[in-house]
């Protein structure tokens, strides 16, 4: 009887294993990454709230201290508007983290006016409305989703009229603002896990390549960002080594300076 039960258990185990194999993923445990080089697609730039979400899990963050309400100037140069637009969308994610409904609503309006400034206002109007409605209801998940949709719609509309470079500047503006806040939070309460979130060398290379392909945008802020990326790259491309507190401080100084440059007229 015991033997029968043992055999039965074994059979059930084998059957379960086979069932798992049938629907499960059969993949090699290791591949040669170098052989993929010709087929690798461009990196997708993470949203600021992907980083903020990971930061939140490391401990309580005083998001209100990072909320920015200053509307900033009105630029006429389209690359400057695009950079600012990315920054303002990132500010929206920060305001959501802080659950600051009034700032979120102001940001919804600001995003709309900036999008109009680069000729893609029509694609943003429904999202701006949805952001304001969701903020009124304190439905933060919907605000996050609409901010993502806003950025996506702006970039799609830009790509449709072959303004891909402006679209990349929107991503860059958001990434810079996200990195500024990340380094500020980690600088205030240092942890190795927090500093590790800066380990983004491929993203930096991606932005460097994109900026180098924009010689027509001959603006001081673009040159400053390009120089800063060259400075930051070796600080975060550390392989398995840990990123020390002084590096976090240094990157925070650089990104804060760039952030000021993005929201200030020359």
């Amino acid at each position: 009887m015991m033997l029968f039960i043992r055999d039965l258990k074994l059979s059930i185990g084998v059957l379960c294993g086979l069932a798992l194999c049938a629907d499960g993923a059969q993949a090699p445990q290791r591949i040669n990454i170098n052989q993929l080089s010709t087929t690798v697609e461009d990196v997708v730039v993470p949203l600021p709230n992907e980083i903020f979400g990971a930061l939140n899990k490391l401990g309580a963050v005083n998001w209100r201290a990072h909320v920015r309400t200053d509307k900033g100037p009105n630029f006429t140069e389209r690359p400057r508007i695009a950079l600012l637009l990315g920054t303002v969308i990132a500010d929206g994610f920060i305001a959501v983290q802080a659950e600051d409904a009034e700032t979120v609503k102001e940001i919804g309006q600001r995003v709309l006016s900036l999008a109009k400034g680069v000729g893609v206002g029509n694609s943003i109007t429904p999202h701006a409305k949805a952001i304001i409605e969701a903020a009124d209801k304190r439905n933060w998940n919907n605000v996050r989703r609409e901010l993502d949709r806003t950025q996506n719609s702006v970039q799609q509309a830009m790509n449709e009229v072959h303004d891909e470079k402006l679209s990349q500047l929107v991503s860059l503006g958001g990434w810079l603002r996200g990195t500024e806040v990340l380094t500020s939070v980690v600088n205030d309460h240092f942890s190795s896990d927090g500093a590790e979130l800066l380990h983004q060398p491929d993203l930096l290379s991606y932005f460097q390549k994109r900026l180098q392909a924009m010689p027509e945008f001959d603006l001081p802020i673009i040159h400053q960002i390009l120089d800063a990326l060259v400075e930051v790259k070796p600080l975060i491309d550390v392989g398995d080594r840990r990123i020390p507190p002084e590096t976090v401080k240094k990157i925070n100084e650089i990104t804060t300076r760039l952030g000021q440059g993005i929201v200030t007229k020359d």
């Binding site: 993923a25 993929l36 087929t39 690798v40 697609e41 993470p46 949203l47 990971a54 380990h199 060398p201």
Partner: protein, 145 residues
């Protein structure tokens, strides 16, 4: 009458073939989003951005993605092609398989679950393993929480 029957038959065949002829990455994206739907209820935020294209049987595509330790990710792959077998797997920057054992593939869908052990670049490998079509549309979306 014969002509009318033939014309009707041709029309029916054309209508039947329309989805195959006009299938698109957008259709594949709909399937990928369908696979993601149950996970949204579990708190995953699905990105609006997505990758897509078409591949022949046996072809692979790699997508480089920055992942953050502390977050949890699902990647959902979809295709509109019936009887196609697709797969998605995630590797770290050393080429080591980085996905959880509950990753799955079934019909029009495949999904990979990742809880990154380190912050950095990861490679998402999408593959059309078998397909009745010469080229098979695919779309990949991802979500995090």
């Amino acid at each position: 009458m014969k002509f009318f029957l033939r014309a009707s038959f041709l029309l029916l065949v054309t209508i039947a073939l329309l989805p195959a002829v006009f299938g698109s990455v957008d259709d594949a994206q709909s399937f990928a989003l369908q696979a993601a739907e149950p996970y949204v209820k579990q708190g995953f935020q699905v990105r609006e951005d997505y990758w897509g294209g078409d591949l022949g049987s046996g072809e692979k595509k790699a997508v480089r993605q920055q992942l953050f330790k502390g977050n949890e990710y699902w990647f959902w792959l979809g295709t509109e092609v019936d009887r196609a077998k697709i797969s998605v797997h995630v590797y770290d920057s050393d080429g080591k398989l980085a996905e959880e054992p509950d990753s799955w593939e079934k019909g029009h869908f495949a999904a990979a679950h990742v809880i990154p052990k380190a912050t950095g670049s990861y490679f998402i490998i999408v593959s059309v393993e078998q397909s009745p079509e010469e080229r098979t549309h695919w779309a990949l979306v991802y979500g995090f929480r």
